[in-house]
Amino acid sequence: MVMSDFKAIEVKNISKNYDKGKIVALDNISFDVKKGELFGLVGPDGAGKTTLLRIIATLLLQDSGEAKLDNFDCVADFKAIRQRIGYMPGRFSLYQDLTIEENLNFFATIFNTTIEENYHLIKDIYVQIEPFKHRRAGKLSGGMKQKLALCCALIHKPSVLILDEPTTGVDPVSRKEFWDMLGRLQHDGITIIVSTPYMDEANLCDRIAFIHHGKLLTINTPQNIIDSFGNVLWSISGDNLFSLMTKLRAWQNTKSCFSFGENLHFVSINAQITPQDIMHYLKDDSVQVSKIVPSIEDCFMSFMQN
């Protein structure tokens, strides 16, 4: 990993409103992305991720604050920035009536380069879709469209890759593959900023920012965020989770109780509580209680509640 202290992206006090101030999309956001870093913007739909990425990609003007990419100002030097970024919007935006090859060739040319010149960058990804290169983009499956879009964003060897929810609506297998590709690109020295609504993907980033309702909740490495959870987290399993959850939520000792797959994740306001206390309260033989390490999703929910 070629990470340095040189900053690839600097965002300072960015705010953005829509509808004459009625909707606050971004509220005083500041953060940096280091050169060579894989940085994740994690938050649900409507959190402000797209707005933020568009400002960095020079496609939208902020109301206040400033953003820089490779030391170029995102407003004044937009032309220089457009030369050096690879941008992949949230919606598939390539030409559906052009083939894979035609799309790639088109985007290579408008960036004043050729497929051959930077083929080494896209090779790993392109070989997977190359057998279908004469197929029109509109006829491709979701995962293949994504690979093509990534190739088109990479073909001019950008210094920073800006990816807006590249894995939304893609099945888990394709999502895993996509993140593997991002890891390889990072090795090639490309800085990547990526947004995602999937909490489990956060673990694959060097650092992440939680974003919700236009505010940054926290910025840190996934490990540090998990370490700073601050409460004891209990995993509870049993035969009827729904009734157990209803029961726990009614308990005066409960801070939060959420379902997580086949278990419940439970946090008490009482730091000294023991598994025996919990089992005693639930009065159910099938119940098992164990102490667990929180996931990124636990952390996000705890930040949301604060």
Partner: protein, 368 residues
């Protein structure tokens, strides 16, 4: 330059891979010309006419017989005095009256000159024009047949007078009208749709995030439709001349050049529409409501502008097709040259520059 070429290439892929739209673009002018052309010729068949012939002689009888023998005319009645003409037209049965001079044959023989007046009901100007054109042709034919040996000395003068609508527009007015309409529709609507589609599909976002310059983008959107419009124009001209037998009395080169100016004006208008809209639906509505209707109503193609109330006459000046329509009429039908049309052409050039300037200024280099 490479950017420009690949962009134009891409536009052609879009156009060629959407066969439905392609058929409409190419088929529209053909269908327009054929329907208008044939509908009008059919209207003219078996038109009822009246004859005012004070001195019946060999020549007049021959001419009347010729008129009656053609499939276009049917003699409804003979009139004895010019005073009855009004009543004959008011009855609504006749479309034209053929009025011979007193002592027609003797005038023709002694003075080598005789007059026929054709009076038509121009409440439907198109039909009036056609009827008088056919009659003129038949009378001319008869004349050559009557005097096979001495052609020039003996001359029948035909004077056409249009009842109800004296400043009636020139012959075959539908051809210039269709030219204006088709070119405006194809150029304006297709260009605006092509740009707005990129906004709607999201590809505009990608193009904006690239180093591509707005001017390159705009020009490469315009070029394919310029080519298609020129092709359409040529097709209309060919169909009109060969199938509809509409003459090109003036210079073909001049006609081509002003048409080029008009196409560029329409393309610029399309660019302007695309710069103020974000959805194909709205662009389509503006093109149809804002372009097609004014072209039909305010260009003089369907209704003579002179007969409109003053406010509408003033408004008609901002409709580009009004100017083009008048130019094409002057060149094709009246056979006039650059002296007669330079003002109108200048207006079109001005409009083009205005729209290009506004669209370049309004072109958004960011999303909203």
């Amino acid at each position: 330059m490479k950017q420009f070429i690949i962009f134009v290439k891409k536009e052609f892929y879009h156009i060629l891979r959407d066969p439905k739209t392609l058929i409409i673009i190419i088929g529209l002018p053909i269908i327009q010309i054929l329907t208008f052309g044939f509908a009008l010729t059919n209207e003219v068949k078996n038109s009822k006419i009246a004859i005012l012939n004070p001195t019946i002689d060999e020549t007049t009888t021959k001419i009347v017989d010729r008129l009656e023998a053609s499939r276009f005319f049917e003699i409804e009645k003979s009139i004895n005095s010019p005073n009855d003409l009004d009543a004959a037209f008011k009855s609504g049965k006749i479309r034209m009256a053929v009025v011979f001079q007193n002592n027609f044959q003797s005038n023709l023989l002694h003075n080598k000159k005789a007059d026929i007046q054709l009076i038509t009901d121009a409440s439907d100007p198109n039909i009036a024009t056609m009827v008088s054109n056919y009659a003129t042709a038949i009378i001319n034919d008869a004349q050559t047949e009557l005097n096979p040996n001495y052609q020039m000395p003996y001359q029948i003068n035909i004077a056409t007078r249009l009842f109800y609508n004296p400043q009636q527009i020139g012959a075959y007015s539908f051809v210039p009208g269709i030219m204006a309409m088709v070119l405006l529709l194809i150029s304006t609507m297709m260009t605006s749709l092509a740009i707005v589609r990129e906004k709607e599909l999201g590809s505009m976002e990608l193009l904006l995030a690239s180093p591509m310059k707005p001017l390159v983008l705009i020009l490469s959107k315009v070029v394919p439709y310029l080519i298609i419009s020129l092709f359409n124009w040529l097709m209309i001209v060919i169909l009109s001349v060969w199938l509809m037998e509409v003459p090109i009395n003036g210079s073909f080169l001049l006609l081509f050049l002003v048409s080029l100016v008009f196409i560029v004006a329409s393309l610029a208008l399309g660019l302007f529409i695309s710069s103020i809209t974000d959805s194909q639906q709205v662009a389509m509505m503006i093109s149809l409501m804002g372009m097609l209707l004014p072209t039909l109503i305010l260009s003089g193609f369907m209704f003579p502008i002179e007969n409109m109330p003053l406010p509408l006459q003033v408004v008609s000046n901002i409709v580009p097709s009004k100017w083009y329509y008048s130019i094409v009429k002057d060149i094709m039908i009246k056979g006039l040259g650059i002296n007669a049309i330079w003002k109108e052409t200048l207006v079109l050039v001005g409009m083009t520059l205005f729209f290009i300037a506004v669209s370049l200024k309004k072109f958004k280099i960011r999303i909203s």
